[in-house]
């Protein structure tokens, strides 16, 4: 059966050259993850599902809490100060999304690199030094952004896929993509980004969410080399 269109030669992780995060040295703040879960209709439309999204939000938060031990650094939730300017934080969330999409588009696809991003081993992206002025990031060293989006193929979509395969038409069922990024709060530099357009793990249940979080944090700088998988699977 034809399950998917060919995967492009794509890189999944970008790390600022030489960047290393020693365990126990940094305080990381997790900004509100952007999580979207739903189904994919027969015709390919996204059908947002509020219950699945609520489950995923809970499961991913729990899984991030578990994974924290393997990151070797404290990860705390972002707490917005009461008198803060919410517009500024909102703008930085949007800016991070835009920068992350640019990295995926113009750095992770080697054939699609911008002229300034062609040098080997280069990873030079930034949100600007003003990130440090964001309210609530005062004691923090790094900000962690997490985004996931899942469209689970509906029964209709899967049946269509079978028939389409018989007719030699490639049809995909399901979209599972996500990315996670780490921004140096003091300089605004994006020091690490991990993006995957075909992620595993069903975020609607706890174990699937743990798998998803492990994949999201793959290549996270500075954790013990083989810690994540063993550490988290040992936890249950």
């Amino acid at each position: 059966m034809l399950t998917s269109v060919p995967v492009f030669a794509q890189e999944k992780t970008g790390l600022k050259p030489g960047f290393q995060l020693k365990p126990g040295t940094a305080r990381i703040v997790l900004l509100r993850p952007s999580i979207k879960v739903g189904a994919q209709s027969t015709g390919g439309m996204f059908e947002p599902n509020a219950d699945w999204t609520a489950q995923a939000r809970e499961n991913i938060a729990a899984a991030l809490g578990l994974a924290q031990t393997s990151l070797g650094n404290i990860v705390g939730d972002y707490v917005e100060p009461g008198n803060a300017d919410p517009a500024m934080l909102a703008e930085y969330q949007e800016l991070f999304d835009a920068v992350a999409q640019s990295v995926i588009e113009y750095q992770f696809f080697p054939g699609n690199r911008l002229p300034t991003k062609k040098r080997d081993g280069q990873f030079e992206w930034s949100l600007g030094a003003d990130v440090a002025r964001l309210p609530g990031l005062a004691g923090a060293d790094y900000a962690l952004f997490v985004t996931t989006e899942d469209h689970f193929g509906s029964t209709g979509r899967k049946v269509l896929q079978v028939f389409a395969a018989l007719a030699r038409v490639p049809v995909t069922a399901g979209v599972h993509k996500g990315f996670a990024g780490l921004v140096d709060v003091r300089t605004g530099e994006l020091v690490w980004l991990n993006a995957d357009l075909q992620m595993g793990g069903d975020v609607r249940d706890a174990e699937g969410a743990q798998k998803r979080v492990r994949q999201l944090l793959e290549g996270f700088p500075g954790k013990p080399a083989d810690a994540p998988v063993t550490a988290v699977s040992a936890a249950h």
Partner: protein, 385 residues
């Protein structure tokens, strides 16, 4: 005949909501604090909730409490107190004529619409139309229509040989469905107006002027002015002409009166008028902006309107425009309450019209009136040289 009666009522009577209500179909019963029920609707509300989080904190939302309270008051007077409680209203600073509604009751109205509307009744017509989308649950039915249509197309593309014609008719169906929704929102909007203190004829007036502006824009850009009655294949809305026509007919049928409250509207918008005008002038739409200004100046040219018109002419910058611009700046200054920038505009227009000395005098006036202006250093180089 009905039209004459309606006109007489408008002049002679303050408000006749009870009488009007007898003539139009009653509004559907309304449930306060509606909660989405099924999986599709809950999903739509979740997406709308996420979008609203972004919108709430967005930089281009106008947060002036007085303006927000005023616009909200017009919404409540149009759709009724219990209905308007379910709406969060955001005023966006976008210089285009538009308003939006999402599944969860997030309403936006854009500053370009506030600039173009003339009175509370017209504002109520626009807000009532958007509320109609919410009350009739249009987001949900549109989503379902598209989903079943795209499901059908997906199967057809595999199972039916040469399914192109069928796909085209299905896609056409999406847009026809959306246009039908717009029409039904228009019609329920007229019903809100009919039961409110505002005259329902205001809904059609809006579209008459929007057509006039579209024609003026087209002529200003050396294109053919053209209003069609029948919408195109990909049109999401009925044409402006069709809307003006059926809204006018519906209002005549209702024949209600009431005050459109133009003075109160002008007074409430006055603090923001210079800002909205400046945004409009920057659109590089000479014909359309001239039309909007002329409409706003129907009762006479005020200082902000004169200043905006002068800026518009100075920006186009033909030699004849600079002469006109200098004249408008002088008219604004003669009224006694012109902003300091009027002197800057006058000076720059005169300098470029080879009237060096009077130009320098005006620029010195500007610097004296606004010594800490951001461009003071730049302007002073023109004065000293």
């Amino acid at each position: 005949m009905r039209w004459r009666i309606a006109a007489a009522l408008t002049i002679g009577m303050a408000s006749t909501p009870a009488m009007a209500a007898n003539k139009v179909a009653p509004l559907p019963p309304y449930v306060a604090a509606y909660q989405p029920t099924n999986v599709d609707e809950r999903g739509a509300w979740m997406m709308a909730d996420e979008d609203e989080r972004h919108l709430r904190d967005a930089a281009d939302v106008i947060r002036d409490p007085a303006l927000n309270a005023y616009v909200r008051g017009v919404l409540c007077r149009t759709v009724g107190e219990d209905r308007c409680k379910s709406v969060r209203l955001y005023i966006l600073r976008v210089p285009a004529f538009n308003a939006t509604m999402t599944a969860n009751g997030t309403m936006t109205i854009w500053s370009g619409a506030l600039l173009r509307l003339r009175n509370e009744a017209e504002l109520g017509a626009v807000l009532g139309h958007e509320f109609g989308h919410f009350e009739l649950r249009h987001t949900l039915s549109s989503f379902r229509n598209r989903r079943s249509g795209s499901d059908l197309m997906a199967w057809a593309s595999i199972l039916v040989a040469n399914s192109g014609a069928m796909q085209i008719s299905t896609i056409g169906g999406f847009y026809a469905f959306d246009r039908a929704q717009e029409t039904s929102a228009d019609m329920i909007g007229v019903r809100y107006l009919a039961t409110s203190r505002y005259p329902s004829a205001a809904a059609a007036d809006v579209w008459d002027r929007i057509m006039g502006e579209a024609d003026a824009t087209a002529i200003g850009r050396h294109r053919k002015a053209n209003q069609k009655y029948v919408a195109g294949f990909f049109a999401t809305h009925p044409t402006n002409l069709a809307r003006a026509t059926y809204l006018r007919a519906a209002a005549q049928e209702i024949g209600d009166g009431g005050s459109a409250a133009a003075d109160a509207y002008r007074a409430a918008l006055a603090p923001w008028l210079p800002t909205f005008l400046a945004d409009q002038v920057k659109l590089n739409d000479f014909g359309g902006s001239e039309f909007v200004l002329a409409q706003l100046a129907a009762d006479g040219w005020t200082t902000p309107l004169l200043f905006a018109r002068a800026e518009l002419y100075r920006e186009r910058g033909n030699p004849r425009d600079l002469v006109s611009a200098a004249g408008f700046y002088q008219d604004a200054i003669a009224r006694g309450d012109a902003p300091p920038e009027a002197y800057r505009g006058l000076g720059l227009s005169l300098l470029r019209s080879q009237q060096i000395e009077p130009g320098k005098v005006a620029l010195r006036d500007y610097l004296r009136r606004k010594p800490d202006a951001g461009d003071a250093a730049l302007i002073s180089t023109l004065v000293d040289s």
